[in-house]
């Protein structure tokens, strides 16, 4: 989720200072990782001095607000997408157009979902570094400095449009490492080529290939006549189910959906188009829908260090109900979404959406519209919360399907550490 840019730079200083090149998986690996983790505190938005600092580093003119919900004041608030979509308020020219276009899409919710967001970001960064030029070629050190400055600037802009996803954070960390480890004597075209190669490798090995591998592994876990519960929309899960269908397995998918995003509709539509038998219902019918199911397969935003899973809000409830009905729960998640953070509840860190989305939309005619007339003048003692994620405790999840295989979610951290070593030894 959010990585404030100031944090990223402190962290990269720490790690580039400490780390030598190469060194894939030695005994000292563990302690290195621990040292790294402590440097990354998120901006707490109820801390005035940190907020002031963050405001100073801002590129766009979006205001930093505080929530009127007392227990959510430490979170970055939803600010509306007005300033960005109008294109005003940021020095155009300073940020690459590809990143600008991307930022608007993030802010408006045109690109959503961990996989798509990260892929779009990687593609945009490829464009950015493809156009990478320098004003002053005198100093060899300059390439390192300029390119990481460029990266920071792009990240800063993107974060202001919407907090980074875990996979995007992992990509930024990877790219920083790559830039830090560029050979000292390089011409600009050579440096550009190496960076582009690194980006391309990440896209292939960490984003595209895993989705297929997960589909391969996961589709074999679906037997004939099974009833699979899924929640909202997940690219990875959809792919897995389609693959199982392609293999000729006959099964039923039960899509559980929720207001206000209704992402499950997109899932149900895609499943229907793929010729898969599909049931569809809302979260209030979840206990009814799950009681006849044989498996639950969930997508994830991230798997954290203790094995708990952040995912679209509502996922935890589905997992909890499935657990209480003894239906096994699997999480399909690429290793790039693994994180070394921990979080006990869904409030310590989260992303907030537009609270007014909770008011019934035009297509929800049968819903109670008592509050719609108050839209612009809600009384101050009436608040609405629209959080985007929740945290599913590790104990509810039988296994994670990642590109490496089927693993317990508590082992995700092992892979995260191995992966970090691998990316630096590239």
């Amino acid at each position: 989720m959010s990585e404030a840019p100031t944090d990223l730079s402190t962290k990269s200083e720490r790690s580039s200072g400490k780390r030598g090149k190469g060194g894939g998986g030695g005994g000292s690996g563990q302690s290195r990782h621990q040292g790294k983790a402590t440097g990354r505190a998120r901006v707490q938005f109820d801390d005035p001095s940190r907020v002031a600092r963050a405001a100073k580093a801002q590129i766009t003119s979006r205001s930093i607000q505080q929530s009127d919900v007392p227990f959510l004041q430490h979170l970055p608030q939803y600010e509306g997408n007005t300033s960005i979509s109008r294109g005003s308020g940021f020095g155009t020219g300073q940020v690459h157009p590809a990143i600008q276009a991307l930022g608007v899409k993030y802010a408006q919710g045109v690109i959503t979902g961990g996989h798509s967001r990260c892929l779009a970001f990687v593609n945009a960064m490829e464009e950015v570094f493809g156009d990478f030029v320098m004003t002053d070629m005198n100093n060899a050190q300059q390439i390192h400095r300029e390119s990481s400055k460029l990266l920071n600037r792009c990240v800063q802009f993107v974060v202001e449009c919407r907090p980074l996803s875990v996979s995007m954070g992992n990509f930024v960390r990877y790219l920083k490492e790559q830039i830090a480890h560029l050979p000292l004597v390089l011409s600009l075209p050579e440096a550009r080529k190496l960076i582009l190669e690194a980006i391309d490798l990440f896209r292939e090995k960490r984003l595209l290939l895993p989705v297929n591998e997960i589909a391969d592994i996961g589709s074999k876990l679906i037997g004939r006549g099974e009833k699979i519960v899924v929640y909202a929309y997940s690219e990875v899960v959809l792919n897995l189910l389609k693959q199982a269908r392609t293999m000729g397995t006959d099964f039923l998918v039960i899509v559980i959906d929720s207001r206000p995003l209704y992402e499950g509709r997109r899932m149900a539509k895609a499943l229907d188009e793929a010729g898969i038998n599909t049931d569809y219902g809302l979260l209030n019918g979840a206990s009814y829908l799950i009681h006849s199911a044989t498996k639950v397969i969930l997508g994830a935003h991230s798997i954290m260090a203790d094995g708990s899973v952040t995912s679209r809000i509502g996922t935890a409830s589905v997992a909890l109900l499935a657990k209480s009905l003894h239906v096994p729960i699997l999480v399909a998640c690429e290793a790039v979404k693994f994180s070394d953070r921990v979080q006990l509840d869904s409030i310590a860190f989260n992303e907030l959406g537009d609270p007014l989305q909770l008011l019934p939309s035009a297509c929800e005619r049968s819903a109670d519209a008592s509050l719609s007339e108050l839209r612009d003048k809600l009384p101050s003692n009436l608040r609405m919360i629209n959080m985007l994620y929740d945290v599913t405790p590790a104990a509810y999840i039988q296994a994670a399907i990642c590109e490496v295989g089927v693993i317990p979610t508590t082992s995700a951290l092992v892979i995260y550490h191995e992966m970090s070593d691998y990316t630096t030894s590239y």
Partner: protein, 316 residues
């Protein structure tokens, strides 16, 4: 092919008759097949290893989870020995044989090591409930003779293998109380620990053992008693069943178990039996695995396995 199978089957039986355990016998056959290997290439050697393993798995004795896990351990030990990099077949054979012998010897020693590591877990005057027969459990109990322990053995219906451990304990001067599996619920509140062996340990730390083990685990959990599983390291296997049904796919039931003996044949023909020979105990029921590499929480199993898997994944 059928010939080979008979041969493997016969030599397995021979080793067992000589007093070896199944796993040891399987490893010995693997070692023999490498020693007797005559072809010229290392690739052929690799194939031979795979073929023999498959042959052993397709015998009745060799189809158990335990031996499958053991063969997996053997093959990965052979892989680690670096035989693939040797200049000639002779050297490669030597590598494998010495790795294999290490595995075989570790099996022999494992029980004593387990007993050593588990020693402090058994308190003076403990009342211990077990089922089926496990050499590792036997070793732990034998090393606790001086502690005035009381042993309860659930019968392990219908195989009644449990009498074997009762017999062996009796030789050591430990008197055990035998109970039918159906009496576990009535007994469990008065015991201190449940201690069982395992046929194999799955990737997530779940344990596969003789039917009845899960029932003991459920009972122990319900009254808050710890369940310890004494298991040799070679029994860790890369399988990930999600529930009992998955396990039955991985370990199909052998048909020889005759569940009910005292009924008239006509009735027997008109009823169906549900008679799995193993069941699955999920990791959340297990307090600790007592292995020859020390005491492990169930989650540690996957962590160590996964590190290896990931490195393989990245390599290829």
């Amino acid at each position: 092919m059928a010939d080979d199978l008979d041969k493997v089957s016969a030599s397995l039986q021979k080793y067992l008759d000589e007093g070896m355990e199944g796993a040891q016998a399987a490893v010995q056959i693997m070692i023999n097949s490498v020693t007797n290997f005559t072809a010229e290439t290392i690739m052929g050697l690799e194939q031979e290893l795979g073929n023999t393993a498959e042959l052993i798995k397709s015998t009745t004795i060799g189809s158990s989870m335990e031996i499958r896990a053991c063969l997996e351990t053997f093959i990965s030990a052979a892989g680690r020995s670096g035989f693939g990099g040797q200049p000639d077949v002779g050297l490669a054979k030597k590598c494998i044989v010495s790795a294999g012998e290490a595995v075989r010897d570790s099996i022999v020693e494992s029980h004593q090591l387990i007993a050593k590591y588990a020693h402090n877990l058994i308190q003076d005057g403990s009342q211990i409930l077990t089922t089926s027969c496990s050499s590792a459990v036997e070793a732990i109990l034998a090393s606790s003779v001086a502690k005035d322990i009381k042993v309860y053995v659930a019968l392990g219906y219908p195989t009644r293998k449990s009498y074997e451990i009762v017999r062996n304990l009796q030789k050591l001067g430990i008197r055990s109380t035998v109970l039918p599996d159906s009496a576990v619920g009535s007994l469990v509140e008065q015991i201190d620990v449940v201690l069982v062996g395992a046929e194999a340990v799955m990737e997530n730390g779940a344990v596969v053992n003789a039917t009845g083990t899960f029932l003991l685990a459920l009972a122990a959990k319900a009254v808050g008693k710890p369940l310890y599983v004494a298991v040799e390291r070679y029994k860790f296997i890369r399988l990930y069943p999600l529930n009992q049904k998955d396990l039955r796919v991985l370990a199909p039931d052998s048909s020889e178990l005759e569940p009910i003996e005292d009924i008239e044949p006509e009735l027997k023909q008109s009823i169906d039996f549900f008679n799995p020979h193993v069941d699955l105990t999920p990791p959340e029921y297990i307090q600790m695995l007592l292995t020859d590499e020390g005491l492990l929480p169930p989650s540690a199993v996957s962590d160590s396995l996964i590190q290896k898997i990931y490195r393989n994944y990245v390599r290829c």
